[in-house]
């Protein structure tokens, strides 16, 4: 992140605005807990068909 010093009488340059990816950086290799398998029983569903 770029840090720009300013005096009170000086307007902030546009380049000093915070960008979203400066604030919330997410590691590219972060592993999200994956749920790869889901199981259901179809017992009792005979009448549905």
């Amino acid at each position: 992140m770029t840090v720009t010093e300013t005096t009170p009488d000086t307007a902030l340059p546009e380049s000093a605005e915070l960008r979203a990816d400066d604030v919330a950086e997410t590691p590219a290799d972060e592993v999200v807990d994956e749920v790869l398998v889901e199981e259901i029983s179809i017992d009792g569903m005979c009448g549905v068909y």
């Binding site: 592993v31 259901i40 029983s41």
Partner: protein
């Protein structure tokens, strides 16, 4: 009302890997039909009448390749990038528990180079 039951692990739950040995060789059970789907595959076990959603095409590839490797761990290492390994070990353990995959009994065939 139909008697449905979901067994997806809850967030934060301890992975159910008991009974699954990554060092052993596994295969897709011959009592299971695997139908490709856009999200992965739908497995149906003809004995237990249970449906299992395989929610990743990589997991489907892994299950289909299990019997071609000397161990489940070797199949995972060959198919899945390291950072996703833990999730796939847990997934295979779940599939083993539900009978979708089972220890392979036939010898591993060596493919000529």
């Amino acid at each position: 009302m139909p008697d449905t039951e979901t067994t997806a692990p809850r967030p934060g739950a301890t992975p159910a890997t008991a009974g699954f040995d990554p060092a052993a060789r596994y295969r897709l059970s011959p009592r299971v039909g695997l139908r490709p789907e856009p999200f992965g595959a739908l497995a149906y076990h003809f004995d237990t009448r249970r449906l299992v959603f395989l929610k990743s095409t990589d997991l489907v590839d892994l299950v289909n390749a299990l019997a071609d490797h000397p161990s489940a761990a070797a199949a995972i290492d060959h198919t899945v990038e390291p950072r996703r390994r833990s999730a796939f070990v847990t997934a295979l353990a779940s599939l083993a528990e539900s009978g979708v995959v089972e220890p392979a009994v036939e010898p591993l065939l060596e493919h000529p180079a």
